[in-house]
Symmetry: C2
Subunit: 377 residues, 2 copies
């Protein structure tokens, strides 16, 4: 018997959109050339690359030259943090304690290099306090970085406010928008940010493709050096197919935003209300505003990994914490920062555009007995 699977881990990765694949295929099937070659084949590849860059710039309200293609979200984040900090005279960086590991581990690297790091806590609802943020900024602050939306609990930070405060102090502001992309407006002028990291596979683009928006005039020391690709800011032969797939997926994900928001949030609320009504002592982590597809909940006495395995056997794919610790379920640093639940007991449901009411209802059918079984043992 083939089990019908229910995938509720869209925050870990979203399947490649058929439109993105269709846009990529001509550049995979037909010979793709080196976009840095000067001959006709190279110039054609270059034209496709630059058109993709232009399309992404348009979605972000940015200039073409402010869009850098990189090898993934982690590289985009690392390049922003390490690159901007190293290009600055200041030796102090401000970030939040609930950032993704790509940010936190990059901060470790900077710390090893002698930078002082100020990590701002989050309140128990999962938000960074703008006043704390403002008071952490100093004359020698090289960079401030706060994620747009949290990848584990979905809380949406007041990015425009924080960016304005940073600008007033002359501090470059980066936001990790990897979890937010596809769900939130990404206009860089409205947000007022200087750098923003995106990962294509989180919004239906291909894996191995990231984008770093870098405001014109923001100094940045490249990490990968070699050929002069990406305006001299990131060496490596350009992945034209990946760039096209990324641009196509981003356009669609952002265009369909309004249409999908209410529907997905409705399903998520149905899930939370159903769980609250049928499972004793559940705690939902993270306050509003939240990403519509995200629900993070804790069931006291039930280790998240055990619950995730149980649900997996029932045909439901969810994530204990986040997926990005490479096959290892570790205690969530995000939940730990909130201080309201056991960091080893938080389960993330993440819904995507394809999620159906039938899937949610099936989850609601399974949850009460799953939790009570696990609580008995």
């Amino acid at each position: 018997m083939t089990q019908t699977r229910i995938y509720l881990d869209y925050a870990a990765t979203s399947p490649l959109r058929p439109e993105a694949l269709a846009a990529m295929l001509p550049h995979l099937e037909g010979p793709t050339y080196n976009a840095s070659s000067l001959h006709r084949e190279g110039r054609r590849a270059k034209a496709v690359l630059e058109e993709s860059r232009e399309r992404i710039a348009r979605v972000l309200g940015a200039k073409r030259k402010e869009i850098l293609f990189v090898g993934g979200g982690s590289e985009a984040v690392g390049l922003a943090l390490v690159g901007i900090a190293r290009a600055s005279a200041g030796r102090h960086v401000v970030a939040s304690a609930i950032e993704h590991h790509a940010v936190l581990r990059s901060l470790d690297l900077l710390s090893e290099e002698g930078y002082e790091i100020t990590l701002l806590g989050a309140d128990e609802r999962g938000f960074v306090d703008p006043e704390h943020f403002a008071s952490a900024l100093r004359d020698e602050t090289a960079l401030a970085s706060v994620m747009y939306a949290n990848n584990e609990i979905g809380t949406i930070q007041p990015i425009a406010t924080l960016a304005r405060m940073a600008r007033r102090r002359g501090v470059p502001f980066h936001t990790d928008a990897i979890a937010a992309a596809g769900w939130m407006p990404l206009d860089v002028e409205a947000l007022g940010i200087d750098a923003m990291a995106l990962a294509a596979h989180k919004f239906g683009g291909p894996k191995g493709v990231g984008v770093l928006y870098l405001r014109e005039g923001t100094p940045m020391a490249p990490i990968l050096r070699g050929g002069g690709q990406e305006f001299g800011k990131r060496a490596g032969t350009e992945d034209v197919a990946g760039a096209v797939g990324c641009a196509t997926a981003l356009e669609i994900a952002q265009a369909e935003q309004e249409r999908k928001l209410a529907r997905v949030a409705g399903l998520r609320d149905r899930l939370e209300q159903g769980v609250a009504a049928s499972v004793p002592s559940v705690r939902f982590n993270g306050g509003e505003p939240r990403l519509p597809g995200l629900s993070n909940c804790s069931f006291p006495g039930v280790p998240a990994e055990t619950l995730a395995v149980k649900l997996d056997l029932e045909g439901i794919a969810v994530s204990p914490g986040s997926a990005c610790t490479s096959g290892v379920a570790e205690r969530s640093h995000v939940i730990a920062a909130l201080g309201t639940a056991d960091a080893g007991e938080a389960i993330r449901f993440s819904l995507g555009p394809p999620t159906t009411q039938e899937e949610i209802d099936r989850v609601l059918q399974v949850m009460p007995s799953a939790i009570s079984e696990l609580r008995r043992t």
Copy 2:
């Protein structure tokens, strides 16, 4: 009228092999999941990733855990150089002056960080002298790096000899094998190397995928930090489709080596003999042993870029120097290091497995008049 194009720039990039695309498609069309997720979908993606890693390890005679997937050749090179140097107590690095820019610019980065760099010259035939190499090694040498085959002139360096010398001094040895892959044996034990960089798109794999072979026990400080992917050595959600495409292309490229070597070298020799017989004062750069598909020649009085543009208009795609300087034809540092020809006058023809005798004969038809025209003006 559609012009039949003749592509003789396989060293810039090789089209994706149909077998590689076929292997990738199920992981692009079907939903690809996050290989670090613990659920069934994630474990399946992980299995495909690890099988790809195993296949590459088998081709290289390496262990599975010694194969790291990265975002391209430049990243593989940068990670080897910067990562190994930073993990060492020594502050001295040895390399050759004819390395690719990915190596040379990474050395610039290390130099900025206070490392002392010894750049070994090449003789006029394009070879690094093993005795010079050995005498450059010191107790505090953190790393030695010499490319397997040069990407502009094709000269094949005595890697096994150099690696043996490095090992005798306890110095980790890295080779940039990006130009050599597909044409030369890559067995890491026979070569005796500690690290080796590969770029998938140079041997018929996808762009945006690189491999770093890193011998077990070789200390390396990761550049991209975040999730614990790639054994904690390179953060970022794994590009499963890219890994499969890379493994498939590498297996085929290495398996067909013997079969294609003589044929391609024969066509290359036909090209060189034909040019020598029909064009006055041509100089071929780089001695033997050379990659079979590479021919680098200089026509005194004829700027390489002008000739490349002229040939492009005649339907022939070649490269002035290498492609990797992003649309800018700059004077070749490799030819400059040889000191035997004008560094602005070197043209690279690079043949691939699909190259035909008809294509070579068409080039030979065009060359004499093209050169004499350009020499007149």
